[in-house]
Symmetry: D2
Subunit: 241 residues, 4 copies
């Protein structure tokens, strides 16, 4: 539940709104490079495509790369993407995703933002060493000027743009209620439910499902229930040809 | 040029970012009702769908309604849409698009925003008369509380949400440069070009085209040119079967 | 690998092309009801939306239902969907998904197709009992005429429409090469690899990954590799803030 | 009416279904090059994107090129597109869109199809001169083998693939009914309506609108009507701020 809704939809939308409202740029016609195609990356890629951006994905895991390719995104190395992108969004949770080697290939005026985890996805120290000067050009937008005149804009100091930008409000409430809902039923389970040994436990499936049911009801969505015949069929393999 | 880029992409994206950043709501899973399917309405509908909203369109012009229907949007009357929507965006340039009759049918917590023209698309006087109380619940969000407890939220006093919301920055620069570009070449034409009688004139086609060419070059986009054989073919009807 | 590519893209596209080529109907403006939101259902829903259909999803599992809702699809019970759909595609792998009770609510001229598993998703016996007459109206399309005059069209006898329709060619080659690739490396593993006890084993992760790498190379897609510093970072939790 | 529905949706969907059913290829992950961004080209581009292809557009008219760019498609010359495409669809109505110069740059196994007008969009004579041999590899698919071993596949002899492919059924009925509807009301107008001089006349706006109204009713779509106050407002400029 958390990964699907929080990361795909919550982070995806909030990242793009924050970039839009910090820079006053439009995504239509921009090439948006999304580094990483996990839950966050998928959300950012899909929502950026939905704003009429041309989306390029970089990945290190071949199955995720293949998924992105089969979705119709262009998939390539960051070295190649660096030459094509207008906006770069890192979502990997790893470090050194955008390095000085990549910055050297970028166009004047590109925007770098991080929606991954910590402020190490973009190599800010390296960027600082490359730059002739740096200044804040808008609230939350720092421009690094290269010796050749190119300007590289970094949002929110390379921190999570959806949380650290000047207009950021954190995740939408629709996302937080699901996260908090999971936490609430887990606390109830610890108090009233099975005995758990100290340690980290997976959220029991029926609790995750319970939160989904409550959320559907809150959204006014009604769904079908399995009939007895269907339950039986699912547990057998004898009908149909 | 202006209508296509300014209204479809500029207004579309800016409207949604402003609603997102004013309300901190996510569009994923929301039913967004777009009133009017002109250039602005198309932009809002398409971008909302691209944020994973379920989009419902209302229109009075049958061909536009049919276009929206063929795009896969649900098309219905505002009376019906009122019962289904979570977020309502008016884009018609007309008045009384959302009236008290519609508000009576709306769910608790809906959001009303205007991206059309003046502040008469949503009947605020009527809404005020219906309401038991009103208060600002967030910066730029006014809540009208109905006698039955339902809360109707109006953004930016029913004025253009992409210009009048507290976080609004007006149109993105990519859109404004095209609008200003058209104005600049038109001024040049008035000074250097044909003699024009006083009055309103259409932008000459070659000027519109010139701005498109400059914009493409600025975006680094190269396109083909017609060959002589192709020009000749376009003016004849003799080749091929 | 198999589930993602075979079911989402392969079944999704093949199902829609087969329905299009069997019926000569266009999806634009149609309401397409997709029963089940597993891998096949997702593929059908996404590709139908991509053909400008208005997509309605039915599901029995609340988390999948919520996912579909958050994607922007309308989610409801089959009883409600029956009144709205033009084309119904079952993808559940279960039985009795479209029953006579649903058929009673359907419009004249609807199309029923199965992309799930066996020919029990649509209750053909029940439909036959309801019908006053039945006849083949196009190759692969059987019309059941109800006593009230409504015509219910069933494709490919309710068998997998992407395999059993008259124009069906089975899965696209791009999908089959991945399926066969997995089988090939698994056979190699049985011959050359670890000793396996008789029984059903999961495909080892590194084999699945190997096929993805081969496929990416065949598609001409190059991706980044983790650096040593990145590998180390992934196994630690100390950098960044 | 005709251009919007027939060309965008009718040709768009039919072209892709025919390519899919003639070649048994999937569009997911393919790079589809669409030559021309008029009504047909828009339809093909949009539907191909909706099948998860990566779409590249070529155009000679700068405003259309800019529109395609702002929609998020990559726009470039055919010479550049030739190196990237897997499937090429010409929709220009002009000649020599895919020439031998382009074929020289194409990958082994590409597919060429025409959805434009006549069989002169792809230079088949030139292709024949280049080729070492040619043979029909599937029904409706001719393979031209280049001296360097590359295989270039041409569908339906370069004729309109949605009409001339072996599985083609012409336009979907939903599209034809609108085209025929326009023709029917125009004949009625000639008989019962104004006196027309011999010659070509534009379809009167109210007839076009009438067909749209009939079609909406047939589709079960209800829309709002302008109130008197709204009609008056549209003709004035005095309300609102």
């Amino acid at each position: 539940m958390k990964r699907l809704f929080d990361n795909v939809h919550g982070t995806g939308e909030a990242t793009l709104s924050n970039i839009a409202m910090t820079t006053n740029l439009s995504f239509a016609g921009k090439t948006v490079v999304v580094a990483g195609y996990g839950y966050c990356g998928r959300g950012v890629a899909k929502k950026a495509e939905g704003q009429n951006a041309d989306v390029v994905v970089t990945e290190v895991e071949p199955r995720r790369a293949l998924e992105a390719h089969m979705e119709g995104y262009e998939v390539c190395t960051m070295a190649e993407a660096a030459e094509r992108g207008d906006v770069f969004v890192t979502t990997t949770g790893n470090r050194d995703i955008v390095t000085t080697e990549h910055v050297e290939r970028m166009d004047d005026g590109v925007v770098l933002a991080n929606a991954g985890h910590f402020n190490v996805e973009i190599d800010l120290d390296g960027l600082n060493d490359l730059a002739e000067s740096r200044r804040e050009v808008r609230d939350g937008v720092e421009e690094f000027r290269m010796p050749d005149g190119r300007r590289i804009n970094v949002l929110a100091d390379g921190r999570l743009v959806n949380l650290a930008s000047p207009v950021a409000m954190g995740h939408p409430v629709e996302v937080m209620d699901q996260s908090f809902g999971i936490q609430a039923v887990c606390v109830r389970e610890l108090v009233d439910g099975d005995d758990y040994d100290p340690g980290v436990h997976e959220v029991p499936d029926e609790l995750d499902r319970e939160v989904a049911e409550i959320k559907l009801a809150a959204e006014g969505v009604e769904i079908d229930e399995l009939t007895d015949a269907q339950r039986e069929y699912m547990n057998s393999w004898q009908h149909g040809t």
